[in-house]
Amino acid sequence: MNTMIDTYLTDALGPLPFCPGCGHDPLLKALDKALVKLQLDPKKTVIVTDIGCIGLADRYFTTHGFHGLHGRSITYACGLKLARPELTVIVLKGDGGCGIGGTHLLNVARRNIDITLLVANNFNYGMTGGQHSVSTPFSGITATTPMGNVEAAMDLCGTAVAAGASWAYRGTTFDKDLPDRIEEGITQPGFSMLDIWEMCTAYYMPRNQLKKKDLVDIMERSNFTYGLVANNPRPEYGAHYRATYGATAAPEHKQPAIEPKFGNNVNRQTGIVVAGSAGQKIISAAGLMARASMYSGLTVTQKDDYPITVMTGHSISEIIVSPERIDYTAIEVPDYFILISKDGLMKARSRIEQLPSTCTLYAEQSLELPPTRAKVIRLPMIETAKKVNRLSIGVLALAAFVKDAGLFASDAFAEAITVFQKPAIAEINLRALEAGSALIHTNQEVKPCP
């Protein structure tokens, strides 16, 4: 049996707790009338309240209630709505909450998430003693503006509309049609807000001798629209998001599993440093080499260092390979150092100066190296890369290193490139692999896979 709901207000907690004459009272009663007109299911309705006297409101309704932090009511409302689109989400916030929560007002308007915001605007922070807020009229007297407010009042509707609000209305608690306007706001498919002006009979009204008719006068003096401020329907965020990014999106691209199939010559934790420039695909080349070592049965870690402005400056990757678990992931004394560019040199200069004789340094031949005890092998990396593809210099340099050091087979590197790169890029990198290997004339035997 479906009975009509004749009110969404409960008297289980007694009458509404506001000061005599407080505008929150008629505002909530107007909201109740709107809910009655809509006959919403209370179980699918949630009232989210901000902090302030208006924050006392949610418990007086028979819907779900959510009372959160000051200024953040819109954020909870958005989370609720995005999680359960079937909910009707109504936010009750004061002018105070619009100040501290300003960015959330801008962004819910900009996104057009389907919640309805009712601002109980009485020009001050009532609950804390009547301090001024972002909506206090110019020259208004409040606890914190005793000589008169010298700040301009924020046009809450105008601000939200500038941020993209699709429906905004300004009225007062004395408007007879307020319930109808609230009903209209709730039924709008996107974000809707009502800036509802009221009397604070405890503070703002007595301090400023405010009369009923002054509300509309202030609107006119401030050049704020009384009535419908904007009605610009556009797609609602949640629906649009689901349609664009939803389950119809492309299927997950899973990385292929790596099965060790090659051998290696590594019998202890070995540190390899690659230093080049941003844009040379150092990180990507190092990652491929890391995978090559995994194909060769090794454990590997990779750490990258680059300036926060990613397209410029140095790019340094540190790869550690080991037959066992790798615990300490810093390379204090590199076993191998591959130096590809001037940016890499500038960043790693002091490190290169400190390389011991046990380290082999593969350096781009045009670079002017500082004194170092490392064994230096000069290679025409830039020249050779130009013949293949400028962007393949990382793979090329590492290919030379792999061939020379013989830690694992170049075939493993080829496998990683083929499996993990798109065919067009893999083709280039395989040529780079060949060209890099060709720079080395010795033949290191790599132990076959056990």
């Binding site: 004459g21 407080c22 008629p26 009923k212």
Partner: protein, 83 residues
Amino acid sequence: MPLIITDECINCDVCEPECPNEAISKGDEFFIIDPDKCTECVGHYETQQCVEVCPVDCIPPDPDHQETQEELLLKYERLAKAS
């Protein structure tokens, strides 16, 4: 004289229960005082109860119904006898 509620009234409903003579009721636009029932609380209290609680001070004396203290007291007694 009895009191009158002006159009400054914000319909807050605080005065109505305070009136010992039940002279206040909801009007079309705002609350109204029945001049036949208002004794300005003479006979009940020292001060006018509705005026004391009104947050917007919208209950002045009614210029169209001027009565003296004695007339108000007589009205009080008449109303008391009737109830």
